[in-house]
C-alpha cells in the first residue's frame, strides 16, 4: 500500500514537474514567439512597403534616367552597388564621384551655395549630417524604417560602420586583453596601444560620443578620457595607417578598428582579431538626398533599394555591414558578438552635425587642458 502510495505520489510529482516545465516552456516559447512574430511582421511589412514605393518611384526615376552619387566608399564598392542598381532598374544610368568626407562636405556645400544641381545622393558616414545642418539635404524618411538598427527620419541609413577593439594576435595573448573600452585606459597597456586622434572627427571621437551618450555619467567619461591621455601613446590621424601598423606589429592594440577591415584581414590570414566582449560602436552610413538633387525620385528609389533585402545583400557582399536588424551576415552584430551584446550607437546630434563644437566642449578641456 505504502509502495503504491509512493508510486502515485512519484507520478503526481513527475506529472506536476512535467506540466510545470511544459507550461514554463510554452510560456517561454510564447515570450520568444512574440518578438519573432513582430520581427517577421516588420520584415514582411518592410518588403511590402518597398515593393509599393519601388513601383511608384521607378517610372518617375526612369524618366529622370540618371543618378549621381558622391561617396566616401571605395570605387570598387561604388561600382558594385551601381551595377546592381542599374541591373535591377534598367533605364537608369549611375555615375559617381569618390572623395573623403571633408572633400565631400566642401564640394557639396560649395555647390549648394552656388545653386548647382550636381548630385543626387551623398553616400557617406560623417558627411550627410553636416550637410543637413547647413540645409543641403532634402529630408526623406524611408518606408522600411521598422527594420533599421539606426533610424534617422531625414537620412536613410543604408549600412553601419561598426567599430571594434582590435589587436595583433602575435603581440598580445587573449588572457591579457582589455575586457572593455574603459579597460584600455589601464596603465598596463601603456606602450601597447595605438589611438586614433580623439581631436578629429574620426572613429575614436565617434566612440567617445557613443560612450558618453550611453554612460550618461560625466565623471566616468572624464576619467576614461584622462586615463587614455595618461597612457601617453602615439595618436594617429589616419585610422587605416594605424591599423596597418598594428598588423605590422608596431602596436598590439588598435583603438578602435573598423569591423569590416578586421574581417577582411582575418580572411587573408593576417594576425588580427577583435575583442568580442567589448561592445561594438555603431555609426550610421547614410544615403542623404541632396536638397537640389536633379533626379530626386531616382535618389529616393536608390535609398529604398539599398535598404531592401536585395540592396543589403549587395552591400553585405562587398564586406560592408548591414543596416537592417533582420539581416544576418558574418558582420552583423548578432553573428560577430556574443548573444545579448548591446551595441553603442552614436546618435549625439551635436557631434554628428558639429563635431568641432562637441570636441571643444567635452574632449579638448581634458585632452589638451
Amino acid at each position: 500500500m505504502t509502495k503504491r502510495i509512493g508510486t502515485v505520489i512519484g507520478i503526481v510529482i513527475l506529472a506536476t514537474l512535467f506540466l510545470w516545465r511544459g507550461g514554463q516552456g510554452a510560456e517561454k516559447s510564447t515570450k520568444d514567439a512574440a518578438p519573432k512574430a513582430a520581427a517577421t511582421n516588420a520584415t514582411t511589412n518592410a518588403a511590402k512597403a518597398f515593393d509599393t514605393v519601388s513601383k511608384e518611384l521607378y517610372p518617375k526615376a526612369k524618366q529622370e534616367g540618371n543618378l549621381i552619387i558622391y561617396s566616401v566608399w571605395d570605387v570598387e564598392h561604388l561600382r558594385g552597388v551601381s551595377d546592381a542598381f542599374m541591373k535591377r532598374y534598367p533605364g537608369i544610368k549611375v555615375t559617381y564621384w569618390q572623395g573623403r568626407n571633408p572633400e565631400i562636405v566642401t564640394r557639396v556645400l560649395t555647390e549648394f551655395q552656388g545653386g548647382q544641381s550636381s548630385v543626387d545622393v551623398i553616400l557617406s558616414d560623417n558627411a550627410p549630417p553636416v550637410i543637413r545642418a547647413a540645409g543641403g539635404i532634402m529630408p526623406y524618411e524611408t518606408v522600411q524604417k521598422s527594420v533599421l538598427v539606426l533610424h534617422d527620419p531625414t537620412l536613410p541609413t543604408v549600412s553601419l560602420q561598426i567599430q571594434a577593439l582590435s589587436y595583433n594576435t602575435k603581440k598580445i595573448k587573449p588572457a591579457e586583453l582589455p575586457k572593455s573600452w574603459e579597460d584600455v585606459a589601464n596603465p598596463k597597456f601603456k606602450g601597447m596601444v595605438a589611438l586614433d586622434d580623439p581631436m578629429r572627427a574620426g572613429p575614436l571621437s565617434s566612440m567617445l560620443a557613443g560612450l558618453k551618450g550611453q554612460w550618461k555619467n560625466d565623471t566616468r567619461f572624464n576619467n576614461f578620457l584622462k586615463g587614455l591621455k595618461a597612457l601617453n601613446v602615439p595618436v594617429h590621424k589616419s585610422t587605416s595607417a594605424m591599423f596597418r601598423l598594428v598588423i605590422a606589429g608596431e602596436y598590439a592594440i588598435c583603438m578602435p578598428a573598423l569591423l569590416h577591415d578586421v574581417f577582411e584581414e582575418k580572411g587573408k590570414g593576417t594576425p588580427v582579431d577583435y575583442v568580442q566582449t567589448v561592445p561594438p560602436i555603431v555609426f550610421p552610413r547614410q544615403a542623404g538626398i541632396y536638397a537640389k538633387a536633379p533626379n530626386p525620385n531616382t535618389a529616393k528609389l536608390f535609398a529604398e533599394w539599398a535598404i531592401s533585402t536585395e540592396g543589403q545583400q549587395v552591400i553585405d557582399s562587398l564586406g560592408r555591414e548591414s543596416a537592417r536588424n533582420d539581416f544576418k551576415s558574418k558582420t552583423s552584430i548578432e553573428s560577430a558578438f556574443p548573444k545579448g551584446t548591446k551595441p553603442v550607437p552614436v546618435t549625439d546630434k551635436l557631434f554628428l552635425e558639429d563635431p568641432k563644437k562637441w570636441l571643444d566642449t567635452y574632449v579638448k578641456p581634458i585632452w589638451e587642458g
Binding site: 560649395t110 547647413a134 581631436m199 595618436v235 590621424k237 598588423i247 606589429g249 590570414g269 594576425p271
Partner: protein, 552 residues
C-alpha cells in the same frame, strides 16, 4: 613687348583669381553652407591660437631641413652628372632620373615600413643579425620626416641645377685656371656661386612645398607628437568645414612665402652677376676629378638606392605578401601571392583614368612651361615697370595647401559650362603647377646674359624674334627638365584634382592612389609598382629609342 606683357597679365589673372577668391573667403563669417557676411573673426582666431608658434617652429624646421637636404643633394648630383668624369656615364645620367618617377606617398609608406621603431625592417635586421637591441631608426621623428621628404625634394634640385651646370661660359672658369686656381677651388668659388639663382629657386620651391606638405607630417609626424602648422589648415576643413578659417590659417603660409620670395628676389637682384650664358658662347668643361670619380659614382649609386631601389623593392615585396610584418616580409618569396595585382588591374577606372591623365598631363606640362617662360621673360627681359609683381603672383598658388586652392578653383568654375568637365581639371592643374614652371624659367633666364638679347634689339629684332630664336633655344635644357617634372607631377596629382574631377570623368591618379588614401597598402603598393613600371619603361624607351634628353 606688349604681347608677352599681355600674356603675363592673362596668365597672372588666371592664377590670382582662385587665390583672391579663397582670400576673400577668409573674411567671411560662416562655415560652408551658412549665410555669410564680412568679418575678421577668422584672423582673430588664427592670431589667438596659442599653438601656432610651436607648430610654425616645427613646420619651418621640417621644411627648411627637407629643402636643404633635397636641394643640396640634387645640386650635388647635377654637378656630378654634368661636370665630372664619373665613370658609367649612361648609368650615371639615368640613376638620378628614376627616383623622380616615384610618388612621394609611395616613398612615405616604404620608408615607414623600413624605419618604424618596433616593426621596421632596418631595426629588426640590426637586432636579428647584429644583436642591436637599441631602436636606432625612428620613422616617427623629425629626422625621419626630413629624410623622407628631403628625398622627395631631390628631383627639383637636380632638374633645376642640371641645365645651369650644362650651360656655362667657359671663360669664367678658364680665367680662374689661368690665374692658378685649382679645379676644386674653381668649382667652389666660381662654378657653385654662379648656380646660386637656380639653387635658390629650387630651395624656395622645396621650402614652400615642405611648408604645405601634409602626408609626411600626418603619417610620420602625428605618431611622434610632431604637429606642423598645415594640420591646422586641414583641421579647419576636416573638422569645422570652414574654408574661411582654413584660408586665414593659409595666409600665415602666404606671409612666409612672401618673406621667402623677398629673400630670393634680393639675393638675385643683380641678375647679370649670375649670367653664365653670354655672347661668348658656352660649352661644358668636364673636370677630371681623379680617384674621386669612384666616390662620386658611389654617391650617385647610393642616392639611387635610397631614392628608388630600396623603397621600390620594399613595395614590390609588400605587394606580393599576404600582409606586412617583419617575419612575413623575410619569408618572401616562399609566401608570394599575386591577388593584389589582379585586384588593381580590375579597378574600374584603371584604363580610362590612365588615358585621361596621360593626355591632360602632356597638355599641362606644355602650357605651364611655355607660360612660365613668357612670364619670366616679361620680368627679366622687358623693361616694363612693375613686372616684378609677377614674381609673387606666379609663385602664390604654391603657398596654399591644395585643398584650399581647389576650393577657390571650384568656386571659379561653378556655374560655368567648364564645371564638371576635363577643362576645369586641366585649368586647375595649370594653376597648381604654374609656379614650378615659372620658378624654373625665372631661375634659368637669370643665367642668360642680357647682351644676347641686346645684340638682337640693336639689330632691330622684335620681341618674338628674341623670345623664339634666342631665349627659348638657350633655355632648351631647362625646358626639357621642367616639362618632364611637371608631366610626372601632374600625372600623379590627387590633391588638386580630387575636387575638380566629376562623375564620368575619371582621372587616373585619383582613383589609383585611392588605395594609399584608404590605407590599403598592399593594393597601393601593387598599383604603385604597375604605375612605376609603366613610367620607367616609358622613360627608358624615350631615352634609348628616341634619344630624348630630359635635360641631360
Amino acid at each position: 613687348m606688349i604681347v608677352p606683357l599681355l600674356a603675363s597679365v592673362i596668365v597672372g589673372g588666371a592664377i590670382i583669381t582662385p587665390v583672391v577668391i579663397v582670400l576673400l573667403r577668409s573674411l567671411t563669417t560662416g562655415k560652408l553652407g551658412a549665410s555669410v557676411g564680412f568679418t575678421v573673426a577668422n584672423y582673430l582666431r588664427v592670431f589667438g591660437d596659442r599653438d601656432i608658434l610651436p607648430m610654425l617652429n616645427n613646420s619651418i624646421l621640417y621644411a627648411a631641413g627637407s629643402a636643404a637636404l633635397g636641394t643640396g643633394l640634387g645640386a650635388l648630383l647635377a654637378w656630378i652628372v654634368a661636370r665630372t668624369n664619373t665613370p658609367g656615364k649612361a648609368l650615371v645620367e639615368l640613376m638620378p632620373l628614376y627616383p623622380i618617377l616615384m610618388p612621394p606617398i609611395m616613398k612615405n609608406i616604404a620608408w615607414i615600413l623600413l624605419l618604424a621603431p618596433k616593426s621596421g625592417i632596418l631595426n629588426n635586421l640590426l637586432q636579428e643579425y647584429f644583436g642591436v637591441e637599441t631602436l636606432i631608426f625612428n620613422a616617427f621623428s623629425m629626422a625621419g620626416m626630413v629624410w623622407v621628404f628631403g628625398l622627395a625634394c631631390v628631383p627639383l634640385g637636380y632638374l633645376f641645377l642640371l641645365p645651369v651646370f650644362l650651360s656655362f661660359d667657359p671663360s669664367l672658369e678658364e680665367s680662374a685656371y689661368i690665374a692658378g686656381s685649382r679645379p676644386v677651388h674653381t668649382t667652389l668659388r666660381i662654378t657653385f656661386p654662379l648656380a646660386v639663382p637656380a639653387f635658390l629657386s629650387a630651395l624656395v620651391l622645396n621650402f614652400l612645398r615642405g611648408l604645405r606638405s601634409f602626408e609626411t607630417p600626418v603619417l610620420q609626424g602625428t605618431p611622434g607628437n610632431i604637429n606642423v602648422f598645415v594640420s591646422r589648415v586641414y583641421d579647419s576643413m576636416a573638422l569645422e568645414f570652414n574654408t574661411g578659417l582654413a584660408t586665414a590659417y593659409s595666409v600665415v603660409l602666404v606671409v612666409l612665402s612672401v618673406i621667402t620670395l623677398i629673400f630670393y628676389v634680393r639675393a638675385t637682384r643683380f641678375s647679370e652677376r649670375y649670367a653664365t650664358i653670354t655672347g661668348k658662347g658656352y660649352r661644358v668643361k668636364v673636370l677630371d676629378i681623379g680617384a674621386w670619380k669612384y666616390v662620386t659614382f658611389l654617391a650617385v649609386f647610393l642616392y639611387f638606392l635610397a631614392g628608388i631601389a630600396i623603397p621600390f623593392v620594399v613595395l614590390i615585396v609588400v605587394s606580393m605578401i599576404p600582409y606586412f610584418d617583419y617575419e612575413t616580409f623575410m619569408k618572401f618569396p616562399s609566401n608570394m601571392v599575386l591577388s593584389n595585382y589582379t585586384k588593381v588591374m580590375r579597378h574600374p577606372s584603371f584604363v580610362t583614368g590612365l588615358y585621361n591623365s596621360l593626355i591632360l598631363s602632356i597638355i599641362i606640362a606644355l602650357t605651364t612651361v611655355l607660360a612660365g617662360i613668357v612670364m619670366a621673360f616679361t620680368i627679366y627681359r622687358t623693361k616694363t615697370y612693375g613686372t616684378k609683381i609677377f614674381e609673387f603672383i606666379g609663385t602664390l598658388p604654391l603657398a596654399f595647401p591644395p585643398l584650399v586652392l581647389s576650393v577657390g578653383l571650384v568656386i571659379v568654375f561653378l556655374g560655368t559650362p567648364l564645371y564638371n568637365s576635363l577643362w576645369a581639371l586641366g585649368l586647375g592643374l595649370f594653376v597648381a603647377y604654374f609656379p614650378y614652371a615659372f620658378r624654373n624659367a625665372s631661375g634659368s633666364i637669370v643665367n642668360i646674359h642680357k647682351e644676347l638679347d641686346e645684340a638682337a634689339w640693336v639689330h632691330g629684332a622684335k620681341w618674338r624674334h628674341v623670345f623664339f630664336q634666342i631665349t627659348l633655344p638657350i633655355l632648351k635644357p631647362s625646358v626639357g627638365g621642367a616639362l618632364f617634372y611637371i608631366f610626372i607631377e601632374a600625372i600623379r596629382n590627387v590633391d588638386v584634382a580630387v575636387l575638380l574631377t566629376s562623375p564620368g570623368h575619371e582621372y587616373g591618379p585619383v582613383t589609383l592612389f585611392e588605395y594609399f588614401r584608404v590605407g590599403q597598402w598592399a593594393e597601393a603598393a601593387a598599383g604603385g609598382v604597375i604605375y612605376l613600371i609603366i613610367l620607367i619603361v616609358a622613360v627608358s624607351v624615350a631615352k634609348f629609342a628616341f634619344n630624348l634628353k630630359f635635360s641631360l
